[in-house]
C-alpha cells in the first residue's frame, strides 16, 4: 500500500467513525423515545437529524468552564485521553479485506491495551475535578474497568486459540466456515458484558450514575470538554460493537450480494442497537453487585471457557 492510500484509510476511518458517533446522538434519542412510546426528536431537519448539529453547536457555544478548584491541565487532558484511546483502538479493526489502518500481528493485544488506557481518562477527570462526587465516580470507574478488563482479555483467548492468531484479519479469515459465536458463545457473552462495563454504558454506568453521583467523574465538565466524554462514549460503543462483529460474527464476511464493508457495518449497527436497547430496558445494578458479579461469576466462567476451549482444541489436534 502506498503512503497516500494509508492516509486515505486513516482519514476515512476517522471520518466514518466520528460521524457514526455524532449520528448516534440522534439514533440513541430516537430509539429510546420509540421504546418509550414517544416519537423523539423529529423537528430539526429531516427526521430530526439536525438535532445532531444543534447539539454539537450547543456544546461548542457553552461556556468552557474550568472550575477554579480543579487541577487545570489534568482537567483538560482527561477528555482528550478517552477519545484518543478509543480512536487508536479503531486502528486495528479490519473493515474489509485490505481496509485496515494497522494490520498488526498483535492487533488484539493492542485493542486491549488501548481500552485499558481509557480508564485513565476517568480517573484523571474525576481526580482533577476536585469534587467528592467526581472522585467517587473515578474510583468506581477504575475498579470497574480494571476488573472487567481481566475478563475481557480472558474471554478473547478462546477466539485466539481457535484462530491461532492475534491478528484480527486472520481472526476474521478463520471464521470463513463458522463464526466464532457458534464455538465461543460463552466468550461472546462475557466479552459483550465486559464491553458494556468498559464503555461504562447503562446499565453499567456506575462511574456516572447521575441519580447517585450527579454525573460522577464528569460532573464539573461542560462545553466541548464534556462533549469529548460524550463522543468518547459513542466511539466506545462503536468500537466494542465493531470488535464484537470482528471477533464473533465473522467481520466483513457475508453473502456476496453486498460488499464486505457493508456487511461489516450492518452487523456493527445491530450491536449498537443492542447497546441502546439495554439502556432502555435494564436497570443499573448496585456497585457491589457489579463487582461481585464480575469476580465471582464471570471470572470462573471465563476460566472454565478457556479450559474447555483449550481441551477441545487439544483433543481436535490429537
Amino acid at each position: 500500500m502506498t503512503v497516500m492510500q494509508h492516509i486515505w484509510i486513516v482519514l476515512g476511518v476517522l471520518f466514518v467513525f466520528l460521524n457514526i458517533a455524532a449520528g448516534l446522538i440522534w439514533v440513541e434519542r430516537r430509539l429510546l423515545a420509540m421504546w418509550q412510546d414517544r416519537l423523539g426528536p423529529n423537528r430539526a431537519g429531516p427526521l430530526g437529524l439536525f438535532i445532531v448539529l444543534a447539539d454539537t453547536l450547543k456544546l461548542f457555544f457553552k461556556e468552557d468552564w474550568i472550575p477554579p478548584f480543579a487541577d487545570k491541565w489534568v482537567f483538560i487532558l482527561a477528555p482528550a485521553i478517552v477519545v484518543a484511546s478509543v480512536l487508536m483502538g479503531l486502528a486495528i479493526v479490519p473493515f474489509a479485506p485490505g481496509i485496515v489502518v494497522a494490520d498488526l500481528n498483535v492487533g488484539l493485544m493492542f485493542f486491549l491495551a488501548m481500552s485499558s488506557l481509557g480508564v485513565y481518562s476517568i480517573v484523571l477527570g474525576g481526580w482533577a475535578s476536585n469534587n467528592k462526587y467526581s472522585l467517587l465516580g473515578a474510583l468506581r470507574g477504575a475498579s470497574q474497568m480494571i476488573a472487567y478488563e481481566v475478563f475481557m482479555g480472558l474471554s478473547l483467548m478462546g477466539v485466539v486459540m481457535l484462530s491461532k492468531s492475534f491478528n484480527l484479519t486472520d481472526i476474521v479469515a478463520a471464521q470463513e466456515n463458522m463464526w466464532f459465536i457458534v464455538t465461543q458463545p460463552v466468550g461472546f457473552v462475557i466479552f459483550f458484558i465486559a464491553g458494556l462495563a468498559e464503555t461504562h454504558r447503562l446499565p453499567f454506568d456506575i462511574p456516572e450514575a447521575e441519580s447517585e453521583l450527579i454525573a460522577g467523574f464528569h460532573s464539573e465538565y461542560s462545553g466541548m470538554k464534556f462533549g469529548m466524554f460524550f463522543i468518547g462514549e459513542y466511539l466506545g460503543i462503536s468500537l466494542i460493537s465493531a470488535m464484537t462483529v470482528t471477533l464473533f460474527f465473522g467481520g466483513w464476511l457475508g453473502p456476496a450480494f453486498l460488499p464486505p464493508v457493508v456487511w461489516f457495518f450492518l452487523k456493527t449497527f445491530v450491536f449498537i442497537g443492542i447497546f441502546i436497547l439495554m439502556r432502555a430496558s435494564l436497570p443499573r445494578p448496585r456497585y457491589d453487585q457489579l463487582i461481585g458479579y464480575g469476580w465471582k461469576l464471570l471470572l470462573p466462567l471465563v476460566l472454565l471457557n478457556l479450559l474447555v476451549t483449550g481441551a477441545i482444541a487439544l483433543w481436535l489436534r490429537s
Binding site: D37, L277, S281
Partner: protein
Amino acid sequence: MISHLRTMWLVFIHLFKKKVTIEYPEQRVALPPRWRGRIVLTKDPDGGERCVGCYLCAAACPVDCIALQATETEEGRRYPEFFRINFSRCIFCGYCEEACPTYAIQLIPDFEMAEYKRQDLVYEKEDLLIDSQGKYPGYNFYNVAGLDAGVKEKGKGKDEEKPVDVKSLLP
C-alpha cells in the same frame, strides 16, 4: 438472565407500538374546562371587576408570584390598583383560584404562553383581566357581602333584613 432478555424483548417490541405523544402544534390538545392553565381575572355579571383585592390568592400562592395593591372607589368598592402575576414563577397549582372568595381569579385551559424574554411573562392587570365571568356565571360577591359598596344597599341582599332602626325600642 432470562428475565433480562425478556425485558429487552418487551422493550424492543415497543418500537412498533402506537405512540402516545401527539404532534403538537399541528395536532391540538383537547383540554378539559378545568384544566389549570393561564390565569385570568374575571368580571361580575354587572361588568365590574370581580377582584376585591383581598390578598388571599397572594397569600395562598406557594411561590409568592402574585402581588397586588387594593384600592377603593368612591362608593367603597374594593378593586386592585395593580395586580401582577409573575408567570415565570407560577407553577399553575390553582391554589389562588381555590383561595379566591369572589371567583375573580381563574385558571383557564390555555398553556400557550411561551415568550422569548422572561420579562414578558410578567402579567399586569391589563393582561389578566378578561371581559367574562369565566367558569362561574351569575356570581357577584357584593350581593352576598354585608358591605354596601354601591352594588346593593344595606339590607337589600337576598338574605338580609332591612337595617335596624336604632331609635326603636320595639321588640
